[in-house]
């Protein structure tokens, strides 16, 4: 399971030639950007209240919104109005100014009321448990897992991004062994494959080990470290640790070597957590041909969306971070001439209760609205449908406005993966519940 690549014994090689195997496998400049595809996930940890990301502004919807949202209702003056391609008025919460702008310039689309589902589900079916219901609804950990695995019932050891990486590896779509799935936000189940391991790096961090020189003593110490990684003591946790360290050493120089060849990006990224993560992603996309990559999946995240109290002030901080980082990233892909080759999308634990809590916040809910951004996106449109804003209404699980999703994660992911180059014949193995839904592609990527 953990011998993704056998670590090569380094012997007496000088440090300068260590881990060069990967470069040897890369045909010089064999890859061009033209066939390249990257998916970039931005996970909003904690459960974004997407009821306040975008609001339908037709009279009936907005009145219903104001009536039920109470202290969380955003006045029209704080909503940046846009018009969908179908001519309907919507408003983005004004701290999402750049997002609203990209919607208007048709680079960004919204997919409404997406969430974890086994199969289509009605309120009556949910309340009487007449159809399969995802496990442990409204729990952070479980709903994160369901977004990341696209498996609504039972534990999945692999994420859907990891299964995509497995497919890429099986098809030999990348010309190097550099990992297809790369996280700049720590380990994530989304990137766990059955046959592939994800790589997690810190933005701006290096994987190259400190403290080694070309001296004989240093070389002996290096040999001790690396030789030990090749041994199997039979202890499963030790093997797992060895595998991770080997991967780090394997990929360190390839990454540093490639990044060292890149000209600095002209695009300025905000000095925020997400800004720095997306800058790192842009820099790796910039050197995809040097790394030998034609298909990559990236994972970023930003936290603190668990707004049980004081929600609007929190969103006033988080939304500008999200909006500005997405805009900078899109600009960077334009600068690289790769805007058509990169699609960015959001995920989040869940949406939040439409009804507020007593502390001007909201509790854990279910279906929510998501953003998809990129040159290939048919933007300026709303895909899927908004719920009826009625507590205890047709889309509510109970009486607090926890929307039953009308679009599944499987459909959302399959639409992204279809553009990424996964054939429909392989889609059911990546999204096992996709077969339960009649629409397999939502249309936001053609």
């Amino acid at each position: 399971m953990f011998s993704r690549r056998n670590f090569i014994r380094i012997g007496a090689a000088s440090l300068g030639t260590l881990a060069l195997r990967r470069f040897a496998e890369i045909p010089a400049l064999a890859q061009t950007g033209s066939g390249y595809r990257a998916l970039v996930c931005v996970f909003l940890y904690g459960g974004n209240d997407s009821n306040n990301t975008i609001v339908p502004m037709d009279d009936a919807s907005y009145k219903a919104y104001q009536a039920a949202r109470g202290s969380l209702g955003i006045p029209a003056s704080a909503l940046t109005q846009v018009q969908s391609a179908a001519g309907a008025p919507y408003g983005f919460f004004s701290p999402l100014a750049e997002v609203a702008g990209m919607f208007s310039s048709k680079e960004l689309a919204v997919v409404a009321n997406v969430g974890s589902l086994v199969q289509p589900l009605t309120r009556a079916q949910y309340q009487a448990a007449l159809a399969p219901i995802p496990n442990n609804l409204f729990s952070h950990a479980d709903q994160q897992q369901q977004w990341q695995t696209s498996i609504a019932q039972g534990n999945s050891p692999t994420g859907w991004g990891g299964r995509v990486a497995d497919y890429v590896k099986a098809q030999g779509l990348n010309s190097s062994q550099f990992p297809t799935f790369l996280s700049v936000a720590g380990n994530t189940l989304e990137g766990a494959g059955a046959k592939t391991q994800m790589l997690a790096i810190s933005p701006g961090g290096s994987l190259e080990l400190a403290g080694f020189t070309s001296s004989a003593a240093s070389q002996a110490r290096w040999n001790a470290l690396t030789n030990l990684l090749t041994l199997n003591s039979g202890v499963s946790l030790a093997q797992a640790a060895n595998s991770t360290m080997s991967m780090s050493i394997d990929d360190a120089q390839a990454l540093a070597g490639a990044l060292g060849k890149a000209a600095p990006l002209k695009t300025q990224f905000p000095a925020t957590t997400l800004g720095q993560q997306l800058q790192q992603v842009a820099q790796i996309i910039q050197v995809q041909s040097i790394l030998g990559m034609s298909r990559q999946v990236f994972f970023c995240s930003v936290g603190s969306f668990d707004t049980h109290t004081g929600e609007l002030p929190t969103l006033n901080t988080l939304y500008p971070e999200l909006s500005q980082a997405l805009a900078a990233f899109y600009s960077a892909t334009q600068e690289l001439g790769m805007a058509q080759n990169v699609t960015t999308f959001t995920e989040s634990d869940f949406n939040r209760t439409f009804q507020p809590t007593s502390g001007d916040g909201s509790d854990h809910a279910w279906g929510g609205h998501h953003l998809v951004l990129g040159g290939a996106v048919q933007g300026g449109r709303i895909y899927g449908s908004f719920p009826t804003f009625e507590l205890g209404g047709p889309d509510d699980t109970d009486v607090r406005g926890r929307w039953i999703p009308t679009t599944s994660i499987d459909q959302y992911g399959a639409t992204l993966c279809s553009w990424f180059g996964i054939p429909d014949s392989a889609m059911n193995s990546i999204f096992p519940n996709l077969a339960n839904f009649s629409t397999r592609k939502l249309g936001f990527l053609g």
Partner: protein, 519 residues
Amino acid sequence: MKRLPVFFVISAAFLAPSINAQTAAVMTDRAAARFLDQAAWGPTAASIAELQQMGIAGWLSAQFALNTSDLPDQPLVASSGQANRNLAPVQAAFFQNAVTGQDQLRQRVAFALSEMWVVSAVSTKDAYAFPPYWRLFRDNAFGNYRDIMKALTLSPAMGNYLNMANNNKGNAAQGTAANENYARELMQLFTIGLTQLNSDGSAVVDSSGNPAPTYDQSVVTNTARALTGWTYPTAPHATAKNNNPAYYFGQMFAVEAEHDTTSKSIIGGATVPAGQTAGQDLDSVLDALMAQKTMAPFVSRQLIQHLVTSHPSPAYIQRVSGVFLDNGSGVRGDMKAVITAILTDPEARAGDDSSAAPNPNFGHLREPVLFLANILRGLNATLGASSAIYNNAANLGQELFYPPTVFSYFSPLYTLENGDPAPEFQIYSAQTATNRADVVNTILYGALDKSTAINLTPFEQSDVSSMVNYISYVFLHHAMSSDLQQAAIGAAAAATGTKAQAQAALYAVLTSSEYQIAQ
């Protein structure tokens, strides 16, 4: 893995007590060091000797009585006049306590509890909130779990972090409902979890094999209503209000006007009758949770994982759960009994005999704080009040008092790709693996902050194989594999001078998976 026989070629100055200990009843160095890896922040030559002298029972009873470590209270306001958010002195004191404090077991248990009952400075930002919050774990570590539940529930830091403070009853006119945050996490993370468990930790399943949930959304909603009506302690010279502003000394108090007095149907089908006070409702909720047998394996498994092994056998969990349910005198939740059961269990102690085959699924990855404390203790470190070693822990994914979410730094449910539980691996990535090796480099080769110093003198021995054997004694329970010994000797032999040799051998050992995984 080949294990080397236990040698006694080590400098007698560091081992005198163990060499004098010749009766069969005395623990071996290996057994004592292993025990101290589980029950303390790691063994030292002195603590090994002490344990050998006292025996496990004597050591445990001495440790149960010790309560020597504190974290310094912090000012509410910084010199800038702004709210004080600087936790550095608290983080530094934490490491000082870990490296040199006497109440080692209390600290380990308190830390484990703090990783279950999470409050994070990510959103509860006032530095002064944390020493009082930490003392709740310290002072209740060897008490009863029911007391821990109540103390943490009424902690103003927790009240802030999970919004039980100022959680007013629902208001129809304003269209609000009681905040569900604390009610949900109290059940999901702190006491019983999402799935009903058998006493061996396995899931209770229904006739179709689906795990049986412990509660549904209506129980969360009802429990949230039962827990309404609490506010922060009133600050000195302030006037009490129904919704006090945040203040972190003392306990939250009840405001009956904001408490929902209707009846509620809560966990296990229990009913909280109408008309009770906030305090009575709280006790009803905690009693109903305490009555759930699922709590015993839920809490026991996590404590085992933090102290001993990521992957306890069902039988091990069952034995500890049994003690949690009944300490032998009919008391449920007796932490002394539970901790004793965890540390003296045959599965925990099986590896004490170096001739026994190692259990390939045993042990856990040393989490960053434990990893650093263990290394510093082994290297005879001295930490001044401004030691910044906590920055190194942060760099490895564990910034003290700043877990990223209420799910702490890592989840007890995290598994390797083969399905084996391995919580600490959630924060072990290519990046943090590299950073671990780099912090070992920093510690050994001398670029630590000015307030943190190590002493390598005991390791500076002219005979390289004796030196490596001493490393084995300090860091690997005197049972370093022959492979690792060879690697360490190879690294040392190429270096010049006893200090450089010790550094090279220590680098090879402390970066190895054999050390990183405490077996």
